[in-house]
């Protein structure tokens, strides 16, 4: 597979459509699964990892999963390609760099379904969809799970359910996450309050790139902490309830912003577009922050030249590996910041994006 062919595509989670897409960027569910007759990945030797990889590859190839998944070995990839897959949310940072030995990922051309092999667990099945879509995502992932299970004996325990390397994932092995864009709660300084309430009910808040990553660009992932003792539909309905509440808060905060400080918000959005379109050096972090202001501007109709999909493209293309692939060369430090600024200047000029 030539990864460069993915470059012009957005990937399912960045399509910018789907229910509640003014606040909800994407929905993602992952299932952790292990083969019954081999040690977990952390205690498997090279030979055993190769066997796991081989068996999962075969199961994927013979399964009736639609759309078709194609397997890619991470060992054979250059560091830039690995980072590229991390940025597209197809693999974890751990699978890219921290782990060793045979490992990889199978995914479809829409980049909606992916199966990581030999991550912390033998299989990490993931389905992503645009917008708020917990039920559809669950239906899809449970079908993928069934068709893999038909060919792979899973480690399953009468009492503890699906067995995982870390006991924090045992039971359903399910982590459902909803990615939210919450700029207005940030501006009105209510975000901390919301997250404190979430912690009390056992939901976790993370930044864009998962565990340990900090929130940038006002993007947050809300997911379930508990995986044991509650059924999948129950876990999903608990998340759904909380998301509905956060959506309401964010929209209220947006309404208040428009009512009480429309002029100031308009100015902030105009300055963000101005900086993005004229800077000669810009970091990924600053780009994310400015794009967040623009995204809010679009939804508040303070700016109507840019469709959200285009904004998502600017967002993914200015990530480090994407930027270097577009430039066709390795860039570091200052060169990368200069290239990012150049890309943004050119794109915004072509789009003719100007504040209303």
């Amino acid at each position: 597979m030539n990864l460069d062919s993915l470059l012009p595509n957005l990937g399912e989670w960045l399509r910018g459509t789907g229910p509640e897409s003014d606040v909800v960027v994407s929905t993602r569910i992952r299932l952790a699964r292990n083969l019954a007759d081999l040690p977990f990945t952390t205690r498997a030797d090279h030979h055993q990892k190769a066997e796991i990889e081989q068996r999962v590859r075969e199961a994927v190839a013979k399964s009736d999963i639609a759309p078709k998944l194609e397997y890619l070995s991470v060992m054979g990839l250059m560091p830039l390609d690995r980072l590229f897959l991390v940025e597209r949310q197809l693999i974890s940072r751990e699978l890219a760099n921290a782990l060793e030995g045979p490992r990889g990922v199978a995914f479809d051309s829409r980049e909606s379904v992916s199966v990581m092999v030999n991550e912390e667990d033998h299989l990490r099945i993931q389905v992503m969809r645009s917008g708020m879509s917990l039920d559809e995502t669950w239906e899809q992932i449970t079908a993928v799970d069934d068709s893999l299970e038909a060919r792979l004996p899973y480690a399953f325990h009468e009492r503890f359910g699906y067995l995982t390397a870390c006991p924090t994932n045992v039971g359903t092995g399910m982590r459902a996450s909803v990615m939210l864009h919450l700029p207005a709660l940030g501006i009105t300084k209510q975000i901390e309050k919301v997250f404190k309430a979430l912690q009390k009910i056992n939901l976790v808040v993370r930044g864009l790139y998962g565990e340990g990553s900090r929130a940038s660009g006002d993007l947050y992932q809300i997911s379930n902490q508990v995986t044991l003792g509650k059924s999948e539909p129950r876990l999903l309905s608990e998340i759904r309830e909380v998301i509905a509440m956060i959506l309401q808060y964010e929209r209220q905060a947006r309404t208040v912003l428009l009512k009480e400080r429309r002029q100031a918000e308009h100015d902030r959005v105009a300055r963000a577009i101005g900086t993005l379109g004229s800077a000669t050096m810009i970091t990924a972090e600053e780009t994310m922050e400015l794009l967040s202001a623009v995204r809010l501007g679009i939804h508040l109709r303070l700016l109507d030249d840019l469709p959200p999909t285009t904004l998502n493209q600017l967002f993914i293309h200015t990530q480090s590996a994407h930027l270097q692939k577009l430039a066709g060369k390795a860039l570091d430090g200052e060169d990368r910041n200069a290239e990012r600024a150049k890309y943004l200047r050119n794109r915004l000029r072509d789009l003719g994006a100007t504040p209303q």
Partner: protein, 165 residues
Amino acid sequence: MNPCQFCGQPATIHLTDILHQQKTVTHLCDACARSKKILPTKPGTHFDLQGLVQLVMGQHGRPDAADTTALSCPECGLKYAQFRAEGRLGCARDYDEFAEPLLALLERVHRATDHCGKVPVRRRSTMGLSKLKAELDAAIAAERYEDAAVLRDRLREKEGADEPR
């Protein structure tokens, strides 16, 4: 990087304690350190020495500490002490070999010790009970209370029949 021993998140705090020539290392993430009162919960409040002592003494003082750390799995060779340090189990059998200490950990992390939810297709015929439990939980979640009542009765019946007398 070591994961937090309590929840598996990346640990940011590492405590080393030596008592009676026995070294204990504790890895914690910020959130667990706060919940165990090792880190102040509010900015400005001070480091809580008592919380720290309690945590460390709790480890040494646990009556079964010696027994559980000596446990090891005959299948993958993992020692329970190693699991406590690294936070990852070695194979499926560990869940049975370490069942006793794991139950306490699961209770703390999930506030539950029994799976309730999906069962692999090939296990469904033999897993009548968990499947009923899963259906019951799903019915309650969806607020289908009439279905839930029926399922609850079937579950009681089945549990009664399965119990060895």
